[in-house]
């Protein structure tokens, strides 16, 4: 597994046919319209798309730069709280029409997460490996603590209820919002793909493979890592902003370390460093969560735990690794 083959793997599921997948996703609301399934699934897919944006941001950091953060909930929560507060207050405070609130929310979420990413990143990138895991966890817990205790603004442990949905292009309706989020996801995906395949992205992969070598080659490694951290955080903040508009409720759970753990699980379950993989992992976790939790209450967590253990033990490269293995076996059979 050399440095150069790694990003190319991202193309693999494309060969499985991304046009049919996209068409299917575009036609999905039609099914709800025809009463084939309930609107609930439109919401579920919207949630999957939102998490996909979050995971895209995370994969840029963990998969391509090799910086495994255990605190990405910090950006998700920050984005969600920022947008939540803007959706609640901006009409009264600045007289902003409800069509525009989501744009202000998204803009401010991304900017704030970029600033926080700069500060946290500046401090965190000095550490490596396990210490990086711990320091990002510490910062995320810091934000959790603030959100929990600063109840005048954040509502404390009760969360932030009563968020007013923005009405831009009718996205207060779930079908319209589905398309809106899908569009944002596609844009983010194209952006991250572009970044990953650019010289900048190649440098990040080089840092992941061997940080010292990149330093000797004359790259300012810290600056690259810092940039990756900020970009990753901003994208994840955008995901938080999208979540606030969908759920119309924001709670401290978004900042909890279990959320960061979930991000890691989804990423590794799908296949870290493949962009498509984490999205797949996220979709599967969210889907299973829904399927099992309606079927066996809280015990679905046990099933998921079992699945994680099996994946770690037997398929460390996740679903994408499994797919590759299967493809490999198939092509071998032909020869």
């Amino acid at each position: 597994m050399s440095a150069l083959t790694q990003p190319r793997r991202a193309k693999l599921p494309f060969a499985l046919g991304w046009i049919p997948v996209l068409l299917l996703l575009l036609l999905l609301p039609l099914g709800a319209e025809l009463q084939l399934f309930s609107n609930f699934y439109i919401n579920l897919f919207t949630k999957i798309f939102i998490f996909s944006v979050l995971l895209l941001g995370y994969d840029l950091l963990a998969g391509f730069t090799g910086m495994v953060s255990f605190g990405h909930a910090m950006f998700f929560g920050l984005g969600a709280y920022t947008t939540g507060l803007i959706l609640i207050h901006s009409q009264a405070l600045f007289g902003l029409p409800p069509e525009l609130t989501i744009w202000l929310g998204m803009l401010m979420s991304v900017l704030l997460c970029a600033v926080v990413g700069m500060i946290v990143g500046f401090l965190s990138i000095r550490t490596h490996g396990v210490y990086f895991i711990f320091i990002t966890l510490a910062f995320a817990q810091f934000f959790h603590s603030v959100a929990f205790h600063w109840s005048d603004v954040t509502g404390g442990e009760n969360g932030l209820p009563g968020i007013k949905a923005s009405t831009f292009l009718g996205i207060d309706h779930q079908t319209n919002y589905y398309y809106f989020v899908l569009a944002v996801l596609l844009l983010c995906y194209m952006l991250i793909r572009r970044v990953v395949n650019s010289p900048f992205g190649r440098t990040l992969v080089g840092i992941k493979e061997n940080e010292q070598r990149m330093q000797f080659l004359g790259y300012n490694v810290r600056r690259y890592k810092w940039a990756a951290f900020v970009l990753s955080g901003s994208i994840s903040g955008l995901a938080g902003a999208l979540l606030a508009q969908q759920q119309l409720f924001v709670s401290t759970d978004l900042f909890h370390w279990l959320m960061s753990a979930e991000v890691i699980i989804m990423t590794w379950l799908g296949g870290v460093g493949t962009l498509i993989g984490p999205m797949l992992g996220g979709a599967i976790v969210i889907f299973f969560e829904d399927f099992f939790s309606s079927w066996m209450a809280d015990n679905w967590l046990m099933i998921m735990g079992f699945v994680y253990v099996m994946f770690v033990l037997f398929s460390p490269r996740g679903l994408i690794g499994l797919i590759e293995k299967a493809r490999h076996a198939l092509t071998k059979g032909k020869e």
């Binding site: 495994v68 255990f70 401090l123 000095r126 550490t127 490996g129 396990v130 210490y131 895991i133 711990f134 320091i135 966890l137 510490a138 910062f139 817990q141 810091f142 603590s145 603030v146 929990f148 205790h149 600063w150 370390w257 753990a261 890691i264 699980i265 590794w268 809280d298 015990n299 967590l301 046990m302 998921m304 735990g305 079992f306 699945v307 994680y308 253990v309 994946f311 770690v312 033990l313 460390p316």
Partner: protein
């Protein structure tokens, strides 16, 4: 500057600061409230030492961020309750007039049971990922935690279980300047004894030596003819036993419920980071720092109107330690 001058200078400064802090506290607060916070802080610290010393060796020697340590602690409490109820059902075991409180059976039995569970977990799952990136250890132990938490919930339900403290620890003790629950004093003493025994174990026994050497370089330890596979299992079981002891002794004070470990594991991680991985001394100092700052911070912060100040402060201290001394106060500079 001469390093020893800097060292003694900073020590003297630290001592001076400490004395000033104590003097200010004594002048500003009543002795009883200070004493209460001191004891509360000490109890928090003792429990944290027991939990984080297992965590620190597993992280330092096995290089696994063991999230499932939380559930081992929880299991300790639940095993304690079960043994307690069994012994109650059988009837008190008496030698003449002297009856042995069921609590003691819990205190001995639960750690043994949890130690076996820990050894099995290590042998069948965790031992298979040592050669991989630390993130896989985190993922794996997280999966194990999810499974075991549900198992505990299925068997014992969501609701907190009652667990009686032994008869001789009922009531309050008059300490002169305040009254304090006897059981909490007992926890303090028992915890201190366990911490001391652990320290002796690490200093005096062969296996303690292997553990301390393992933090520096397990490969060399293996080259010396030690069976590393077995040693790693024992290290993990050792951590599990300490976590279970902590689980049993806190259960009469706190609620015994499936999620009880989730709250304390993050604190234990903070202790780990502040103290340094693989260092027992680090675990003790880190736990004392955290416990004391939590209890006194609540006192001071509460008066200033920022009861949350300490919690935020703790994370800032942790970040600061990581930046200035990434390996923690007593950690190895270079983990192999």
């Amino acid at each position: 500057m001469n390093p020893s001058v800097t060292r003694y200078g900073s020590m003297a400064l630290g001592a001076l600061g400490f004395v000033l802090l104590v003097a200010w506290l004594l002048s500003a607060y009543k002795l009883s409230s200070l004493g209460f916070q001191l004891f509360t802080g000490l109890i928090t610290s003792t429990v944290l030492i027991l939990i984080s010393s297992g965590l620190t060796f597993v992280a330092g020697i096995l290089h696994v961020i063991n999230i499932s340590h939380a559930i081992l602690y929880t299991l300790g409490a639940f095993f304690g309750v079960v043994i307690f109820q069994w012994v109650r059902a059988v009837g008190d075991i008496c030698i003449g007039d002297f009856c042995i409180d069921p609590f003691w059976f819990s205190l001995i039995g639960a750690p043994i049971g949890v130690g076996i569970v820990g050894a099995l977990l290590e042998r069948f799952t965790i031992s298979r990922i040592y050669s991989r990136d630390p993130i896989y250890g985190l993922l794996l132990t997280l999966g194990l935690t999810l499974i075991l938490t549900r198992v505990v919930e299925i068997i014992w339900g969501h609701d907190p279980l009652p667990f009686d403290s032994p008869a001789f620890t009922k009531g309050l003790v008059n300490l002169g300047f305040m009254y304090y629950p006897t059981y909490r004093l007992f926890v303090l003493v028992a915890g201190a004894i366990v911490v001391f025994l652990t320290w002796m174990f690490l200093r005096m026994t062969n296996f303690g030596l292997i553990m301390r050497a393992g933090v520096y370089d397990p490969q060399i330890v293996g080259a010396m003819g030690i069976n590393l596979k077995k040693a790693f299992t024992k290290v993990f079981a050792f951590g599990a036993v300490l976590a279970a002891i902590a689980g049993v002794i806190v259960s009469p004070m706190r609620a015994v419920e499936p999620e009880m470990g989730n709250f304390i594991i993050i604190d234990a991680f903070i202790v780990l980071v502040i103290g340094g991985m693989g260092s027992f001394r680090g675990a003790v100092v880190g736990a004392l720092l955290l416990g004391m700052s939590q209890s006194f911070g609540a006192l001071i912060g509460g008066q200033l109107g920022f009861p949350w100040l300490t919690e935020v402060l703790v994370y800032m201290v942790m970040a600061l330690v990581l930046l200035v001394r990434p390996q923690g106060l007593f950690g190895q500079a270079q983990l192999h």
